[in-house]
Symmetry: C2
Subunit: 553 residues, 2 copies
């Protein structure tokens, strides 16, 4: 067994299944690029059978991130094309779709799965163990017909009979599986149990000597990281993880926790890996921003309070010795302490250089728009921090094609009552319309006025505002999540891989402005445009004009 | 060794040390009461030497939550008075202050600590090992002079020489310690290591047979829960934890994760505990609200997505069998699915009954104020959910004494620029004053106008808005955190127990309204009043009038 741990990132598959985490295709590409910079070995890019959108997104990632020739266009020589993996249930249609999505990658992988626990076989699959073994043999072989690199997962392995697992896994190996992934699907095990399960599989499965054993844990009891590491110590050499530990329910194992445990306790684990830890903070922030899933301040490695030097300690009285309370250095995870970089006298070139340092590569049109917004922010704020720049560029670049465009919005509100908002929007026909509405608050009033124009019945499921930086003049970032009303609209759905059910999709929107009301309006229009695109409403104008005109505040 | 695991909750001590988590005395009492309902065995109520405020808060908790006679006034017979513990460094002044704070409790405990790792002894304490042993002997004996129940912690035990630990701990036992707590202060260990450390201590420490061994873990590498459980399996019978895992850096072990692991995997652990799991959700929400520290959606047990039934699955196509993806039932942690309870025709009695069911016991004046606000919200919203009621009652009851009171506020803003706010406030002298200000956004404009009246230089460190429930007409809850500018004001400080340094205190504020702008104004005034109280500025009016008049929106 070698001593290299492969990082298999499933942020774009298991992570994106979290409620409200739906990403646009452009956001998925950007996350995949960042995962490549971070050094992950395998990107599970999606579940191609779920919907045509999902398939198309995996195809784009295969072509743009999974190929050395394309990758050189945006990455330096240290970045290598990761394996691009598509998930498929144990059926021919699923495997066909997965192969269609990944075949253009330099290193494609098909990942197929079937449940092996008593409870899943009986209640979900309604198959007996012999039927399960047959299906695994057939479908692993079918996948192998497309692709040398085949991964098989016995779903709910944590609650499966180990003896049955050994049989199923040996058959999967015979039929061509090259990676065997052992999921604790319901986040049920303790590290002792999970380590013993992996050790048992390695000791008792025929033909496993040349196979990579993988671990995939969930955090329902808060032990995903410890279970993953226990599996690795028992001989697993692939860890399935997500950025920030996002995923269904309590989420998946956090990439950053496993990577920093291997790094910080290197003498204990004595294992190699390909993660560039200095890319962790940037990856975390990008995923949090695009998914709208916040990272709590006390989250290990990537939480706002995770490092002692930020914990409100009087900076004059520095620690007598850094390591008394700090086992990791903030620089190691790419947490820069510089906050003051650009001001109102900075030029467009300086802005481009700084954005490139931050990992963005704006097109000329985008740079022009961001620069105009940067100047307006710089006039209002004393300092423009990196976080502000990231908020602006994110807002500018990764917008959906605009079906409706917000032109102007204003509001009057306060304790005296009757919050009243007025909006002016440009529709898909290029026509301007205006509406005013009264609401329970300024945001409600504004959203009612927008609804009167856009006419897409929906429910607001989440509304969240964060200040991007400290200080009273901070840029405010608003994230919203809406679900289109399925009783009034043919709401877009997609298949959930495990439950074999249709899920209604929800749509996140994001807006940034020094005026929290303007940011709220932008976020809502953003979410509506994503929903309209998913409903197939064509945008009159290309995405490149996104955001223009809507930032005066 | 018995099979009962004691839960020692340090939310009010280690948790409250998190940046920005500063709680008012009234909030601390309320959290302590909730911890008693939750069934924790020991409440570490604070670090009394840190400041006179901290000492007074621990005294109040000892008197009101730590005594059976007082406890019957607000709790039913199933709730028993927990042990009330005060933290003290290994010095006479600290132990004196701790005893002063806890002596009125039925079951007081002094918890003293001294570092035993090479790095801490050399760089922080500047003591050699012999001096450390001497100090432990003296101070445990000194604490024992006050109190039968004495806990000793060798700080940074996770990085200490085990042989030295055995010696120090044996001396602590000889001098009267009844609980020995083993902290992994920097969150450094793996479950294997930490379990072995505990097993080694139990096997090699003279006199440990009748002693409770305790574990105290931090989550820097994401393994606090697994480490705590490994310690328990090795023989520890006390777990030091916090609600939501709050605490310095990446935080402490989460109470809810350890409790639910013991509960869900009972056949594995086979241990008893006193936690009423149905109080977990309420405890989590209360701590999150009062501290302003958000819980991420993918947090185990208490995150918004933690339960499968809430994961956006189409409800018509229910799971074929609940346990296929659910190892815990939401009811077990007290997560009620009822959202629609009261409407605009509900009377004051119905409101009181529902608030009591939710764990609140409003005084007549508070009920009157909450009822008035409830009616205004009920007129605007289709349904008033439990979460709305909790937001309103929290806003009403747990305000600091008001030095300044917000009377009215209004704002005009939007993409057309020049956000302008006007506020009217009543000062400590009873005089009304008005100010208008222009800002970068509506919140900035409003805060500038408030600053022009209150005149307390500060920096806004955090600003956060959440919708309390789903729906566009949701009540918005704003939390802010400010730090008074230490260069312009004698900023209030307190002692950090481990670092032996003064920390500048930050002040959190909370506001709820259907108008997010009004909620923002209320939250800021709330934080300013906390800071003014800490600076010793007297309030003209008693706290009972808090909030009145400020909710018209």
């Amino acid at each position: 067994m070698d001593n290299y741990v492969r990082f298999f990132d499933t942020t774009l598959r298991d992570g994106e299944q979290s409620p409200g985490a739906t990403l646009t295709s452009a956001e998925k590409i950007e996350v995949a690029r960042q995962l490549a910079r971070l050094g992950v070995d395998i990107i599970e890019a999606g579940f191609p059978i779920a919907s045509p959108d999902d398939l198309a997104a995996v195809q784009r990632i295969s072509a743009q991130v999974g190929r050395a020739d394309e990758l050189r266009a945006w990455a330096d020589d240290s970045v290598r094309p990761p394996v691009i993996c598509g998930l498929a249930r144990a059926s021919e249609e699923d495997i066909d779709a997965a192969w269609e999505a990944i075949q253009s990658a330099d290193h494609p992988r098909i990942h197929t799965f079937l449940a092996t626990s008593e409870i899943h076989m009986r209640h979900k699959l309604r198959m007996d163990p012999e039927e399960v073994v047959d299906r695994v043999q057939q479908m692993v072989a079918y996948a192998k017909g497309y692709c040398e690199d085949v991964e098989f997962s016995p779903e709910d392995a944590g609650r499966s009979d180990p003896e049955f697992l050994y049989v199923v896994l040996a058959e999967a190996i015979k039929c061509g599986a090259t990676t065997l992934n052992i999921p604790d699907t319901v986040g049920y095990t303790t590290p002792d149990e999970f380590g013993a399960l992996i050790a048992g599989i390695i000791a008792n499965t025929a033909g496993i000597e040349d196979i990579i054993v993988s671990v995939h844990c969930h955090d329902d009891l808060g032990m995903a990281t410890a279970n993953t590491l226990a599996g690795i110590r028992a001989g697993a050499r692939q860890a399935e993880v997500t950025i920030n530990g996002i995923g269904e329910r309590a989420g998946n194992t956090s990439l950053e926790e496993v990577a920093m445990a291997l790094h910080t306790r290197r003498p204990v684990f004595n294992l190699e890996h390909g993660i560039d830890t200095t890319q962790i903070t940037r990856s975390s922030r990008m995923v949090s921003k695009y998914t709208g899933i916040v990272v709590q301040p006390n989250k290990a490695v990537v939480g706002a309070n995770a490092f002692a030097h930020e914990a409100g300690i009087h900076q004059d009285g520095m620690l007598k010795h850094e390591e008394t309370y700090e086992i990791m250095r903030p620089e190691t995870v790419g947490l820069s302490q510089s906050t003051l970089v650009l001001g109102k006298h900075s030029g467009r070139h300086a802005l481009r250089v700084r954005l490139q340092e931050l990992g963005f590569d704006p097109k000329d049109k985008e740079l022009k728009d961001v620069f105009a917004r940067f100047k307006r922010v710089a006039e209002k704020k004393k300092v423009v921090a990196d976080a502000d720049l990231v908020a602006l560029i994110t807002d500018e670049i990764y917008q959906p094609a605009e079906v409706f465009r917000l032109k102007d919005a204003q509001v009057v509100c306060g304790t005296l009552g009757m919050p009243t908002a007025t909006v002016r929007m440009v529709g898909p026909d290029g026509e301007e319309s205006e509406q005013a509405a009264i609401g329970t608050g300024p945001v409600d009033a504004c959203y009612s006025a927008i609804d009167a124009i856009v006419q897409l019945p929906n429910e607001l499921q989440e509304y969240n505002v964060n200040a991007v930086t400290e200080g009273i003049d901070a840029l405010g970032e608003v994230t919203v999540r809406i679900q289109v009303d399925p009783e009034q609209v043919a709401a877009p759905t997609r298949l959930s891989p495990q439950r074999e059910q249709l899920q209604y999709r929800t749509f996140g929107g994001h807006g940034a402005s020094t005026d929290v009301f303007v940011a709220s309006a932008r976020a809502y229009v953003n979410a509506l445009n994503k929903a309209l695109a998913a409903l197939g409403v064509p945008a009159e104008k290309p995405a490149a004009t996104a955001g223009s005109g809507s930032e005066k505040a």
